[in-house]
């Protein structure tokens, strides 16, 4: 697996740049991945989503779907797409240090 450096910290990522070990994740790594993904500076709203996704992943072993986050009033779908343009589920997972989501919906 490739090794990537974020702010002087070397972490292992998969071929698509997703962290292989979510426990090494921190906010600096998130910020660095966000820049690479073309997402502007991360706001509290971004972290609301990312933190919820990380907590849900710990509980269920998978990241929540866009629909679930909308239904649970975590974030409306429209806003999610505005925060993470160009593929919200995938980009939020990547920035949050989670594996690439494999849901079709």
């Amino acid at each position: 697996m490739p090794i990537k450096e974020f702010n002087g910290l070397s972490v292992e990522v998969d071929e698509e740049g997703f962290l292989t070990d979510r426990t090494v994740w921190n906010k600096d790594i998130a910020a660095a991945i966000a820049v690479e993904e073309g997402i502007g500076p991360l706001t509290d709203r971004h972290f609301d989503v990312i933190n919820f996704m990380r907590e849900a992943f710990e509980k269920h072993g998978t990241a929540p779907s866009i629909r679930q986050m909308n239904k649970m009033n975590i974030i409306p779908t429209r806003e999610l797409y505005e925060l993470f343009p160009g593929g919200p589920a995938k980009k939020a997972a990547k920035i949050g240090g989670l594996p690439k989501p494999r849901g079709c919906v």
Binding site: S65, I66, R67, Q68, N70, P76, T77, R78, Y81, P85, G86, G87, P88, A89, K90, G103, C104, V105
Partner: protein, 171 residues
């Protein structure tokens, strides 16, 4: 995936049939495109318009007649996938309703929304939904009959204009 191949930037999907399983693939593909950052529009024509009509969009049914692969659904009833399902059985009153009910339950378990909710989710994701002018005229429909999320009614020519640069997929 080939490294030289250009990635897909835009898709235009066409739905011309109106059973439940005729409509879902386009919504999954369209919404899935948005999830990948791909521009997406879905064009509903002829019986596909049933998915947009407020009075019918929640009542789409699974067709149980003329589908020789219906046995694939039998494991949902804990029956072997090889159990024969003759088309005459599908014609018995209530069978289509039952199959529809069963399929909808299965979909909810898989986190697949209902048709109206799916249209809402797809448009919230930036996808566009259009109705076909000819189909609208044929079935005596107006915009008032349609889901509020429909962006407009298009002629074939306008559909092609909107689809400039898109891959067109007939589902």
């Amino acid at each position: 995936m080939s490294e030289q191949a250009e990635s897909i930037k835009k898709v235009s999907l066409i739905v011309s049939k109106g059973s439940l399983v005729d409509v879902y693939p386009a919504l999954v593909l369209g919404n899935g495109a948005r999830m990948e950052g791909i521009e997406a529009a879905i064009f509903f024509t002829f019986f596909g318009l049933g998915a947009l009509i407020k009075k019918t969009q929640n009542k789409l049914k699974v067709a149980t007649v003329g589908n020789p692969a219906l046995n694939m659904a039998l494991p949902m009833l804990k029956m072997p996938i090889t159990t024969p399902f003759p088309t005459l059985m599908g014609a018995i009153p209530g069978v289509s309703n039952f199959a529809t009910w069963m399929m909808k339950n299965e979909m909810e378990d898989l986190d697949i929304p209902t048709i109206p909710e799916f249209i809402e989710m797809f448009t919230d994701a930036g996808g566009e939904v259009y109705a076909c002018k000819l189909g609208m005229d044929m079935f005596k429909l107006s915009m008032d009959d349609l889901d509020d999320r429909v962006s407009g009614v298009l002629t074939v020519g306008e559909f092609y204009e909107k689809s400039a640069g898109a891959s067109i997929i007939f589902t």
